[in-house]
Point group: C2
Amino acid sequence: MDNVDRNILYHLQHNARLSRTELGKLVNLSQPAVTERVHRMEEQGVIKEYRTIISPEKIGKHAAAFMLFHTKNCLAFLDFCRSSPEVAECYRISGDHNYLLKVIADSTQDLEEFGNLCDSYGNYTILIVMSSAFDHKDLIPDHEEENLLSE
Amino acid sequence: MDNVDRNILYHLQHNARLSRTELGKLVNLSQPAVTERVHRMEEQGVIKEYRTIISPEKIGKHAAAFMLFHTKNCLAFLDFCRSSPEVAECYRISGDHNYLLKVIADSTQDLEEFGNLCDSYGNYTILIVMSSAFDHKDLIPDHEEENLLSE
DNA sequence: GTTGAAAAAACAGAGGA
DNA sequence: TCCTCTGTTTTTTCAAC
């Protein structure tokens, strides 16, 4: 992981479909060299996946919420979370609660119904997402492109 | 947005680099037809982005947390969030607090330092992420592949 | 929506600095 | 580790159906 790798990741993170040739131009490397570095990062697990981001609203998912959960039966609860399509994310957290969930549903009514399903697993607080200032920021910030200047 | 489009999205969501030809085979459509549908969904904003998922741990980000925030100066606070690389997500929420942030940092020490920076904007509670059961679930679930059967 | 053909581009591999 | 060169595969674009 040197600066060239970081630079490759910087460009890939918001454009997974960049060709190796274009990527090479962006980081001042030949196409085979870029390909080799990308493969290496894929194998090392630095690159986990290439994902297509779909607009939830455009496919009818108009409601999102976070749920702070307190359960006494973690294993059953985790099974429930994994099998519920509404639960997009599930974290074990410190503090008064056990788990934090991110839930995505068609409507607030559906959120409410999902809440009913949760009742048997413990106590929770629902925090409705009213709006997102931003729901994602790239991990690798603008640059550290010293390596680009050296040619 | 018919079932074929959903099927295309289903395959693309966890593999953004699928070629149009392969995609065509998966959804029983010719390559030009797939290309046209994908372009349409890109223009409509159904497809927002093609993202490369990078392992935070592998690039030295070993600490994550959620912060429940209560501020009196929303605009200044949002500026602060946008300009802080640690803040990966920022939501306006219902309940006792104003905002929910997801914060990613190198270490818990860095989380603490980030907390100090936040002091001037209001009150907050930090919920440290101890582990992720899962931090992502695909929006489009397994199938609805009725259309695949009809040929 | 399909097929098919031609032009352009991307990719994988070998050999060498 | 990187480069250039080359052959092969893929994409793309365009026709006609």
